[in-house]
Structure formats: structure tokens, C-alpha cells
Amino acid sequence: MGKIDDLLDKQEIMELSYRYSRACDRLDAELMTAVYWPDGTDDHGAFKGTAPDYVDWVMGFVGNWVSTHHDNTNILIDLDGDVAFGEVHWTGYYRYEIEGVLHDHLATGRYLDRYERRGDEWRIKHRTCLSDWSKIEPANAAMHEAGLANPLRGQRGKADHLYNLRNIAILEDAAE
């Protein structure tokens, strides 16, 4: 399989970062826990420690914010047997209150990761998060204000449409 194996490994490793973002943005601790090995570690600057402790910390840290959205773009992965190393560009769109005023915090940075394969499964063994750029300004969120009752508004937690990913057939039947 050679090169196809490499493609499959890289695909699986890339999805770890996507699932990590999904977990953070939906505040899904269970999903985030499954991205790291139980003996994994994380260095986010403000937090350094074990993966399970990181999950608790980050859920609390962003839990009070209004919303987060993490885009992962450039992903470069070096495979080395059952170990792999990755650099992942991220852009974070954060909204939270500062002294009662909604603010937008835009930030870019990179994850530097060590992945390990155990059995058939790849997970993060260590993630270091670096910040490269950011800006914070008062939010000017016309759609946010207007869309609070919109059924297609993203949610944190299990009310989000993500958790109805496969129930689309039911929606389609209802629409027909």
C-alpha cells in the first residue's frame, strides 16, 4: 500500500485537528477527550499539563464566551512510522463580553503536534499552541443581533445541527 497508507494516515491525523475544533466550538468535552491519548499533554501557554486536565481547563476557559469558531487551514504532517509530527495553521473567531460590551477577538496561530499510533488509531500525544497574530475590537454583529431566534443559528452543545447530521432524511421527508 505504501503511498496509499501514507494518504490514509495523513487523512486520519488531519481529522484529529478538525475534531478538536469541533469539540472546542461545540463545547463537547467527550469529543475533545477522544482526540488525545489519555497520557497526552498540552501546552497552551496559559495552561501546561495533562490532556484530561487541559480539556477541563479549556471548556471552562471558553465556556463563558458567546461563541468560538476555529478554522484549520495549512496542515503539514511528517510521518515517521507510528509517530507523526504536524504543523496546523488556525484562525480563531471569538466573541465575548468585555465590561458588558460584546467584542470580537480574531487570532491566528499554529498547533505543533506530536501524534502517535497505538493499534489502529492515531491520536494527539502532545499539542503546543502558538499565537502569531490577533486583534480585538467591539463587535458589530448585525446578523448576530437579528438572528438570535434563527433555527439555523449555531449552538454550543447538543442542540447544534451537527448532532442531527444524519437526520437530514427526516428533514427532507418533512420538506417534501
Binding site: S21, D104, A141, R153, L162
Partner: protein, 179 residues
């Protein structure tokens, strides 16, 4: 590929399917940003369905609505990042992160920027050899609205880089300039 076991062949097929599904999602951005109805019609099945924040209806009704909406804007760019795909035979269930940049005209005729972040929650279906969108939910997460500060529209800057355009005049539709 004769050396592949059945399990390996299935993995290989899944990679190919995943790539085809990914390209459907990216071709949608091209269709929307170039305001190209013909391309858009090749991205959805004719009996498809689309649910946006302010539109919920058949693909047949979505096309004129979205073209008219886009024509009311100056320019858009829809960037797709994280794509997670669950394959199930001829069906793919996907979540795709997007950041959409819009240049608009304000009520006083001034240029404004609107940036929206969200996710496409799609049911993408294979019929024959082809994958297309059967049902899209565009879930909205975040937006920013402010007067444009586009420095690249200053006359002395305009020569710096060619502008993308809408319609078939965009360089993406011609390879002559790449020789």
C-alpha cells in the same frame, strides 16, 4: 492495483469518494463567488434542498434567490476550511467550516464589509458516478459588519494585483494566461 486486499481496496475507494465529496463543497464556493448559475446547477441535484438563514426551499427556488442576492453585492469569497465527512455508501454527511467575505454597498452607497463564519451541514448523495448536494443547511455562527477600509482600492494600489471578477471573465476560466 491487483496487489490490494479487499480491505485495502475499500480504504482506497473511501479516499477517492472523500476527495470527490470535498470537491463538490469547494466547487460550490467557485459557483457562488463567480455568480455562475451553470456551475451552481452542477453542484446540487435538481431535486435538492437548501436552508440558509433567510431562505429555506427547493434548489429550484434557491437558484434565482441566491443569484439575485449575490448580484446585490459587489464581491464575495467563501473560504472552506475544516471538512469532516461521514461516508455511508452512496451518502455522505458532512460538516464544513466556512468564512465568507462580502463587499456590500451601504444605504448611502458607501462600501461595507460583512464577514460571516458558519458551517455547511450537508447531505451529499452519489447517483451513478457523481456526487452532488442533496440537502444543505448553512448554519450561522458569527458575523462582522463595518465600513470598508480596503486599501487595495486606492488608485495607486490597483495596479498591484489583478482583481477577481464575477462571471466567465475571471481568470479561473481561462488558461491562456498561464502559458
Amino acid at each position: 492495483m491487483a496487489e490490494l486486499s479487499d480491505a485495502e481496496y475499500q480504504q482506497f475507494r473511501a479516499l477517492v469518494d472523500r476527495e470527490a465529496v470535498r470537491e463538490v463543497i469547494l466547487r460550490n464556493s467557485r459557483a457562488i463567488d463567480r455568480v455562475d448559475e451553470e456551475l451552481l446547477r452542477a453542484v446540487y441535484w435538481p431535486d435538492g434542498w437548501d436552508s440558509h438563514s433567510i431562505f429555506d426551499g427547493s434548489f429550484e427556488d434557491y437558484v434565482p434567490w441566491v443569484i439575485e442576492t449575490l448580484n446585490g453585492m459587489i464581491a464575495t469569497q467563501h473560504n472552506v476550511a475544516n471538512i469532516l465527512i461521514e461516508l455511508d455508501g452512496d451518502h455522505a454527511y458532512t460538516e464544513s467550516y466556512f468564512i465568507a467575505h462580502h463587499k456590500l454597498l451601504g444605504e448611502g452607497g458607501e462600501e461595507r464589509d460583512m464577514i460571516a463564519a458558519g458551517r455547511y451541514i450537508d447531505h451529499i448523495e452519489r447517483r451513478g458516478d457523481e456526487w452532488r448536494i442533496k440537502h444543505r443547511r448553512a448554519v450561522f455562527d458569527w458575523d462582522l459588519n463595518q465600513p470598508s477600509t480596503s486599501g487595495w482600492n486606492a488608485p495607486e494600489r490597483k495596479a498591484m494585483m489583478e482583481r477577481g471578477t464575477r462571471g466567465r471573465g475571471d481568470p479561473v476560466f481561462s488558461r491562456d494566461h498561464l502559458t
